[in-house]
Subunit: 266 residues, 2 copies
DNA sequence: TCGGCGCCATGATGCAGATCAACAGAGGTC
DNA sequence: GACCTCTGTTGATCTGCATCATGGCGCCGA
């Protein structure tokens, strides 16, 4: 592997000293140690950023990550237009990302669950392209991007992983574009439920029973539909025995039928 | 600057030797020298990948870029699912990217003009997530991604630029998502025309008079509308004196009115 | 305990854009 | 020049979702 040949380690002090006290994001000023949870012990480490790192590299990544007190429901993590400094990893809870249209309306561009990374749209303009808000009490890790950038130049595995993260965001946006452009209301709702179900499974949670962290308004906004349409879609699917819906509690009773409703061929 | 301190140059032979004969993409097997146009003399260099590089770095980038004979209209550049090896820069002509839905229909995800980069959605899965097809005779530069990755670990400017490119793709996809989710047919069409106009201006071409390289079907597909609706939108705008439309030839007669039609506040 | 508010569900109606259909013009082939 | 196919335009009709309106339920503070 050419990779390992090129690999260069920068020894402790020098590098991490530089990296540690770089940029700070507003809510992350508070003393780090209070909320210290190492990536190594975090049960999300296998699906989050640390994914591809050995323990030496992990320690360096560890040093730049900032943790702070959890965000309360509806609290803002970052605001579009604000200077871009960090990308964020969700540790617990759930977030929504949205951007404000020229006429002042909101467009929800994504929901983010534990282990997922958001805020990468800010890189290109050095300013956040979208805002992020907590859907429920959420713990967030902030990762100063210029530190991450420098680290990733030294760790090929990390660089590769970052490229992949950004690329994945692109393909997911493309899926949403396709969904909005080609699918009916019911198909969109079914697809979202399947997506949430799959992401729950990834975190060892139930794929068939969960609580939606977002409101019907947010779902409608995300899927390009009105609240009423979302509500009716849920009702229809409940009536046809695909789901059991109790407010935000969802139970998928027939996974195959839901896939069919999402227009995904078996 | 911490950047320059970390900068490491790998001398000619060793590195470039490694980098040159790595991955090959199907249409790029033919002898390179036939279509040799250096980035340095390419008039797109200021808006394309070389953007942030000095001449030393540029030479190294130069060495990994593969050029081949131009693609004919409708010719395929890459196919979704095919192993990902390169990202592509459009040198001349125009491309469309699209992905095939589970039920076999196409979703156009973007149009790409000279100086623009496509294919970055393939990074995350090591396989192209979308296909790309020439809308007219087009010259393409293929940039093997693993070589680019290695180079970018050595050139912070290049690494930064790549992150920005990926990030820009994300924000552009988000804009399309918003467009599809919130805007009327006329607004979508007007927005696309403004986008093409702006991108023409960037290449020193006329912002008010141009030829659309794509069909009405492609436009409709991209904007989540039918051909008929596109056609009617054009007719309406022509009738109201915003545009002159002659088949694929477009003249923007009233830029402000077009922005208004796109729902962009003055 | 009550009233107010946010969130959700459901019915009635309207409309933008899809669908269906017919035709016109451009460009290619024989 | 005759013919065909492909692409785009325009009209008539249909429909899925938006819009408008109403009411129920859970939650919170007074």
């Amino acid at each position: 592997m050419l990779y390992t040949l090129q690999r260069i380690y920068v020894q402790g002090e020098t590098m991490s000293g530089h990296l540690q006290n770089l940029s700070e994001t507003a809510p992350f000023r508070s003393c780090n140690h209070e909320f210290k949870v190492s990536c190594e012990t975090c049960r999300l480490s296998r699906i989050c950023l640390p994914l591809a790192l050995n323990s030496t590299d992990l320690e360096q990544l560890e040093n730049i990550i900032q943790r702070s007190k959890p965000l309360q429901k509806n609290e803002l993590l970052c605001h579009e237009g604000a200077p871009f400094q960090s990308i964020y990893a969700v540790r617990s809870g759930a977030m929504k990302a949205y951007r404000t249209t020229s006429d002042g309306r909101e467009q929800v561009t994504g929901f983010y669950f534990p282990g997922e990374i958001l805020g990468m749209d800010g890189i290109s303009e050095s300013a956040h392209a979208s805002s992020a808000r907590a859907l429920e009490t959420s713990a967030i890790c902030a990762i100063p991007f210029d530190s991450l950038e420098k680290l990733s130049a030294l760790m090929p595995g990390l660089q590769r992983h970052l490229f992949q993260l950004l690329s994945r965001e692109i393909t997911e946006d493309q899926l949403l574009i396709t969904l909005l452009s080609k699918n009916s209301a019911d198909e969109r709702v079914a697809t979202l439920l399947l997506s949430i179900s799959r992401r729950n499974a990834r975190r060892q949670l139930s794929a068939s029973q969960f609580r939606l962290p977002m409101s019907r308004v947010d779902i409608g906004n995300y899927l390009g539909l009105t609240v009423e349409t979302i509500s009716r879609a849920f009702s229809r699917m409940q009536k046809s025995g695909i789901l059991r819906v109790d407010n935000k509690e969802i139970e998928i009773l027939n996974h195959e039928a839901l896939q069919l409703a999402a227009n995904i061929p078996a």
